[in-house]
């Protein structure tokens, strides 16, 4: 029954193993691998019974435990380990457990520090009494790489769905134009990467129309689109070279 209480409090598989180790007062350097594997799998079963989704990392850990268990069962390996001729199959796991436990403890210490200091607020001066033209709300006290990327993202997000009025004529396009645009690339080389194709496109509308144009070319089998991985760039291949 105690499992149920703890069902959703584990940060991950390593955390779960540490729970068993603490509960059963197991010596972390001499883990009874058969027992802990059984407990672990029972826990996964329980999660399944309760229709809880088992994350991939829990499954990966189960595989690791079973592999270690199998190795421990081979008598020759067992003997070699005892004679210190061979590394204990459990050592990688022990290392992970120790490392994780270490950071878990520090996390707990940080929580205590947070409780002590999160209620302390730093001085926030208004410099206008010294100089009227300093606007603290605009000035960035520390700028990191992350800030620069975030700024870029915000500018790009702000890029109008339709550009400002006087640019509409330049920006607005239609599928035919974008098909021509795609062919302007395909006439130079038989294949073009999507990322290369759209590199110069700065407007969301044009981008969307370009994608529609590619779909149209695919539908009419004038191009073939291939992709290596799910999140990879894709390649557009001209099926009618010279057309």
């Amino acid at each position: 029954m105690s499992y149920k209480i703890h069902l959703d409090v584990f940060e991950g598989p390593v955390d779960l193993l540490l729970y068993f180790i603490k509960r059963d007062e197991i010596n972390i350097y001499d883990i009874p691998i058969t027992k802990i594997t059984r407990d672990y799998l029972e826990y996964l079963d329980l999660m399944t019974t309760l229709n809880l989704q088992i994350a991939g990392e829990f499954v990966a850990m189960a595989a690791m435990l079973m592999r270690i268990k199998a190795q421990m069962l081979i008598p020759r390996i067992k003997e070699a380990v005892e004679n210190e001729e061979m590394e204990d199959p459990r050592s990688e796991l022990v290392q992970r457990l120790l490392e994780y436990r270490y950071f878990k403890e520090i996390g707990g210490e940080l929580q205590k520090l947070e409780a002590r200091h999160a209620g302390e607020f730093p001085r926030r001066p208004d410099w206008s009494y010294i100089d009227h033209d300093i606007q603290p709300e605009d000035a960035l006290s520390h700028v990191s790489l992350f800030d620069i990327l975030n700024a870029f993202r915000q500018v790009m997000d702000r890029l109008p769905a339709d550009s400002v009025p006087h640019e509409v004529n330049v920006e607005s396009t239609n599928i035919t134009e974008q098909i021509d645009f795609i062919y302007s690339h395909l006439n130079r080389e038989p294949r073009v990467n999507f990322s290369t194709l759209v590199r110069s496109i700065r407007s969301k509308v044009v981008l969307i129309v370009t994608v529609i144009a590619i779909l149209e070319l695919m539908r009419t089998q004038r191009v073939r689109v291939t992709q290596n991985g799910i999140f990879d760039d894709f390649t557009i291949e001209n099926l009618e070279p010279g057309a």
Partner: protein, 202 residues
């Protein structure tokens, strides 16, 4: 605050006013003070300020509470104006503004890029910001565009790389990386559980 106050304002009330004045960069007005206090708790703001100022003066502190409009704020005494001004010029005035950061970001990711193109992307005039960035040597002119009017093209400098601790412009984070990072984060920063339950994709 060694001795009890003589203005009838309690030590606690004086501390509350002092804490708010220290932590805020906008003036503390009676209305704003009232909003922070528990129902029924009233503080005589002007009285508290008077008592605090008396102590600051007696203690020869380097700051006092100055009335601003209907409110109050903590400022340094003018004996130290020169040194404070010097500090602000070096450490505050030299800061990048958000406008500068945004312009820098556009140049970093789209370089080489012309002013008309930067302004098209940002949607605002960028002359002053470009001047600041040039002056701080975070950007430089690399040549001229082929486009009409042959506008100057801007690129980031070695100083830019040094400032952000980059080995090369290729080390700039990709938008994809940020999107990936924020794909789940954006919707759940306050939520205790959802923060760590996403399974590993690999």
């Amino acid at each position: 605050m060694e001795t009890p106050t003589q203005t009838g304002v309690s030590l606690l009330d004086m501390q509350i006013v002092e804490a708010l004045l220290i932590a805020s960069d906008i003036p503390l007005t009676p209305d704003r003070l009232k909003e922070c206090l528990d129902e029924g708790h009233r503080i005589d703001l002007a009285g508290a300020v008077e008592a605090l100022n008396a102590r600051y003066e007696r203690g020869k502190h380097a700051f006092y509470i100055m009335p601003v409009g209907k409110g109050f704020q903590i400022v340094t005494v003018n004996t130290f104006e020169t040194i404070v001004r010097n500090f602000i010029n070096r450490n505050v005035r030299a800061r990048l503004t958000y406008a500068a950061l945004e312009t820098l970001a556009v140049i970093a990711y789209k370089q080489p890029i012309s002013k008309p193109e930067i302004e098209r992307i940002r949607g605002v005039n960028c002359s002053a910001v470009l001047a600041t960035l040039l002056e701080r040597e975070l950007i430089t002119v690399s040549g001229r565009a082929e486009a009409a009017g042959r506008p100057l093209l801007y690129v980031t400098t070695d100083e830019f790389l040094r400032y952000f601790g980059l080995a090369s412009p290729a080390d700039l984070p990709r938008t994809r990386e940020l999107n990936e990072l924020f794909r789940t984060g954006e919707h759940a920063p306050q939520d205790q559980r959802s923060e760590n339950e996403t399974p590993l994709s690999d």
